[in-house]
Amino acid sequence: MTPLKTASAAMVVGRFWRKPPFIANPWVRYGLMAVTLIYLYWAFSTLPFNWERISEGLPRSARIFGGAFPPSFERGGLLWTGFKESFQIAFLSTLLGVVLSVPIAVMAAKNIAPKPVYLLGRTIIIVARSFHPVIVAILFVAAVGFGPLAGILTLTLYSIGFVAKLLAEEIEEIDWGQVEAMRSVGAGYLKTLIYGVFPQVMPRQIGLSMYQLDSNLRASAVVGIVGAGGIGGTLMNAFGRYDYDFAFAILLMIIGIILVSEGISGWVRKKIW
């Protein structure tokens, strides 16, 4: 009976073992492989890969890059205004988005919200997440006109979608004992939230906010391209006027800012726990 004894008894050699396949049914397994291969072949053979155009395009992009050297920081004032606006958009939308995401996350957390409220909260998050910020920015530019307001609204919605979703998931994973303890002392719903729930998700919320600021700074450059204000607009104009050296300066500026903000947010997220 004991495993030791059988091991010391005569050992049977040559028994077969192999890791069980990921998909047990061989028909499904080989069928899926075949379908993938056939699709890949079809996809590549029908896409119009025009080698001529590619070979023409390469020197053209080389020319653009050539024109971009050396980057021109002559219009530093314009660069600075654009950046300032981008930062304002990113900061305000992060603040608004993070503040609004807290109640929405509470609504969308299954363990602390009643079913109808939960569904409403999830719906808000799904709607906020379903479109890429560029598409949302196009809508808002059409609605409120060109400029930073459209950018702020866009990125606020974007922040709500992201922060509320992750915060809601964090709330769903809290240690329930602390909530029970607060209930047992006779605390109501809001007091239980403040004492039993929020302290547990606070570090995560700060980390998410820092990440979101970082992400909004990046996105604010993109939404600027469709007219929602900020440095993206400046970049678009520079390209439109074939000012490749100025455009390159803007790109360098964006890279520098992203590097700095990523460094800061990483440092902050590491510090809090």
Binding site: G177, Q178, E180, S184, V185, G186, A187, K191, Y195, G196
Partner: protein, 267 residues
């Protein structure tokens, strides 16, 4: 005085966890409730402060019916019932003082709770109780930096801050080492007599139940099968409570094992 009559609890359509339980606790007696895991000890305690909804029956604390209370009435009655948990259930990221003051959450306004501006009387009481159990020097330390025994003391003080009329302890020593768990048990015992507070303790360690409590209640399959003084809780009673269970918890099941453990501690 706590009076439980005909208490029944059933989860969904499963077999009832509590089957018509009757128990009354008077004065400042310390009552330990023993029984194997799944006997319904924890469910019973949680029915008293309604963390678990009883299916039927009645629970009266000093004459007030607790079953069927709703909303603010329920919260007001919970203020009078202190609870201590196996896992301490402190707010880990808050300071010891905030944890202690959270025992007053049922009494203070939302704004006071949010800004931590508790009434001076509460702060005085907090310091007094923390000094009583020996954790006053940790006021501004984060709760998760304390050792197990210290955290359970914070939890005890939090419960006492409620000015409770009864104290429930759900396996308060199960996460502690033997020496610390004895200290917590004797703390509960002396607090009960100092504040003339009835205390109900779920406990696995039969030796400690005998040593620190005035009365032992044995439960099995949702029913009370022993109720008497510790000296009457003999081998037969022990077998009745724990016997015939395939793999009971190791603590206090075998009486010789449990005594061995306490000897080790005393040595």
């Amino acid at each position: 005085m706590l009076e439980i009559t005909n208490l029944e609890k059933r989860y969904g359509k499963n077999e009832a966890v509590l089957k018509g339980l009757n128990l009354s606790v008077e004065g400042s007696s310390v009552v330990s409730i023993v029984g194997a895991s799944g006997a319904g000890k924890s469910t019973m305690l949680r029915c008293i402060n309604r963390l678990v909804e009883p299916t039927s029956g009645s629970i009266k604390l000093n004459g007030n019916e607790l079953v069927n209370l709703k909303g603010s009435e329920l919260r007001h009655s919970r203020r009078r019932i202190g609870m201590i948990f196996q896992g301490f259930n402190l707010i880990d990221r808050l300071t010891v003082m905030e944890n202690v003051l959270s025992g007053r959450l049922g009494y203070v306004s939302f704004f006071q709770a949010l800004t931590r501006r508790f009434p001076q009387a509460d702060i005085d009481r907090a310091f007094h109780l923390m000094e009583r159990v020996g954790i006053a020097h940790y006021v501004n330390k984060r709760a998760d930096q304390l050792s197990g025994g210290e955290r359970q003391r914070v939890a005890v003080v939090r419960a006492l801050m409620q000015e409770p009329e009864i104290l429930l302890a759900d396996e308060p020593t199960a996460s502690l080492d033997p020496k610390t768990s004895q200290q917590i048990m004797s703390l509960l015992q002396s607090l009960a007599s100092e504040m003339s507070l009835p205390v109900l303790i779920n406990i696995h360690n039969v030796t400690q139940a005998r040593m620190y409590t005035d009365r032992i209640v044995g439960m099995r399959h949702g029913q009370m099968i022993f109720d008497g003084a510790p000296k009457d809780f003999n081998q037969d009673a022990l077998d009745a409570v724990y016997g015939g269970i395939a793999s009971p918890d190791e603590d206090g099941v075998d009486s010789s094992d449990a005594t061995g453990e306490s000897q080790e501690v005393n040595a």
